[in-house]
């Protein structure tokens, strides 16, 4: 099957900076794909390579089997939702949404009908005559979405589209985006630095670091089986434990990831047996359903995420941490 987007050993260098470094990636048609990584990790450059705002220094990009390099942005059947939305301030909402159809020469009547339908899709009926400056952040985000979708792109690129929204709105938009994507069946490529956003929305996630893809997989795979220490650390604040520590507690003698929610906490000192350690509580953070307890065991900081019903612990308490034998996930050494 043809990939929606295919990166074949793609690099993009800016002078000595390897923004994107030998990326190999295939995104399937209809997939909701997230590119996750810290800022400067190359994820946005990858998106811009697909949009056509950047050209690869080397390598080959295909969009639905067609060679993309050399094609300007306006010849690609790909649309972008920009981080700052980039709505045209001098046009009303209807003209903004109809812009793509207008420059393609579609008659006014037709394009305005389509634009109204697109606004309907993002639940912004009745806002046609307003200016972007009269809309809230969430509404502008929807306009940007409608403006891109009205062109019926084969791939929709979203560059940190929820970054500027407040938490509640962001969670609501996550659900809506996911529903929209499922209903439309369009390939979504989504760039974010927010791991919870990527994990909750995407079918597959690529983790970027230093211009390279460190790991690609389903959210559950990445969360539970991080390939490297970087991934474990970046995706959901795991405990990354060094080889000597794990060996002492019956582990494999490698770097391992130990998820905070896999650890159970018990008051009092050490019981005999492996996969357990005595620790001192250093801080307690109540977070509603769960409580995060930071502890220290033989100089090693270990975070525990426990149900809030487990009973009170206080700073300075001696506790026992225990985990199932399979809770350790061994990782490769960092390249």
């Amino acid at each position: 099957m043809t990939s929606a987007v295919s990166f074949q050993h793609v690099s993009r260098h800016f002078g000595p900076v390897r923004a994107v470094d030998d990326v190999v990636l295939d995104i399937a048609p209809g997939e909701f794909f997230a590119m996750l990584g810290p800022s400067g990790s190359g994820k946005t450059t990858c998106l811009r390579l697909v949009a056509g705002f950047e050209q690869p220094t080397s390598g080959h990009i295909e969009i639905f089997g067609e060679t993309a390099e050399g094609l300007p942005p306006y010849r690609r059947n790909v649309n972008t939702v920009f981080q700052d939305y980039a709505l045209f301030p001098h046009m009303n909402i209807l003209d903004n949404v109809a812009y793509g159809l207008m420059v393609k020469g579609m008659p006014r009547r037709t394009r305005e009908t389509k634009a109204r339908d697109a606004l309907d899709l993002v639940e912004l009926k009745g806002f046609e005559a307003r200016r972007p400056s009269q809309l809230s952040g969430g509404q502008r985000q929807r306009v940007a979405l409608a403006r891109a979708l009205v062109n019926e792109p084969k791939v929709l690129l979203l560059d940190e589209p929820l970054g500027a929204l407040d938490l509640k709105l962001r969670e609501q938009m996550q659900v809506e985006l996911k529903t929209l994507q499922r209903n439309l069946g369009i390939t979504f490529v989504f760039v974010t630095h927010d791991q919870s956003e990527a994990l909750s929305m995407a079918d597959r996630v690529a983790i970027f670091n230093n211009g390279k893809i460190v790991q690609v997989g389903a959210p559950k795979d990445i969360y539970e089986r991080p390939r490297t220490r970087f991934v474990a650390d970046f995706v959901g604040s795991s405990n990354v434990l060094p080889p000597d520590f794990t060996q002492r507690t019956g582990g494999p003698g490698k770097w391992v990831s130990l998820r905070p929610e896999k650890i159970t906490i018990a008051a009092g000192g050490m019981k005999p047996g492996s996969h357990a350690v005595e620790a001192t509580v250093t801080s307690v953070h109540y977070q509603g359903a769960v409580t995060r307890v930071n502890t220290e065991a033989a100089g090693q900081a270990i975070a525990v995420s426990a149900p809030s019903s487990f009973g009170a612990v206080n700073i300075g308490d001696i506790v026992t941490l225990q985990w199932p034998a399979d809770a350790f996930h061994a990782m490769e050494d960092e390249a």
């Binding site: 705002f53 981080q83 700052d84 980039a86 045209f88 812009y99 793509g100 400056s133 062109n151």
Partner: protein, 271 residues
Amino acid sequence: MRSERGHRAPRALSLAAIAGLLFLHVPLLLIFLYAFTTEEKSYQFPPPGLTLKWFGAAWERQDIWNALWLSVKVASIATAIALVLGTCAAAAVSRARFFGHDYISLLFILPIALPGIITGIALRSAFNIMDFDFSFWTIVLGHATFCIVVVYNNALARFRRTAGSLIEASMDLGADGFQTFRYVVLPNIGSALLAGGMLAFALSFDEVIVTTFTAGQQSTLPIWMLTELIRPRQRPVTNVVAIFVIAVTFIPILFAYYLTRDGEHVAGGGK
């Protein structure tokens, strides 16, 4: 903007402001007054009598019409050149980041900071070296040097406030370079260009120093006024022309002021 504590400025400050305004504007009023005087050889105060005949006399003078027409032509063409080159320069400087970026920007603004007499001498010797005859076109080129600055400054300020992603968004939605310029860039910088153009026109219209160095036999309206002051014949005619020049330069400047003020709300609204 209103201060938070009180609406009234201290009395001394108000008096100073009024004095300043009077100092600036009373001479202008005298220009108006002398356009109506019956005394034609010297500026006698108070005027012995008032008359409207100088307006008629000015209307009859072919040399005024020639000078006026030349000034309008020079200002129009210099402004047109400035609009094209100034916009291009501003677009380049605002978008690109390169070595020496700030110095290039400074070099563009320099012609307006330099005394006109330096610009004039420089251009005159340059034209001489290149064997240009001093003509209509040398005046236009001379004026264009400072007109470009005005347009450049206005356009640059607007480009900086306009998000760069707008252009990318337009391209992304299928518009080629020309369509993007027409539908996105121009509407966003249009009022800034109009303001810059009007200021440039006004500057060119009353320019004397650079013109004296770059003109051949021609005289623009300000040059005509300068020569007219030397000979004491029909002096109030000069004042009539002065009133006209005030009107022609003041109105565009006023327009430009309002255009750029409103522009603050237009550009950058996308964010």
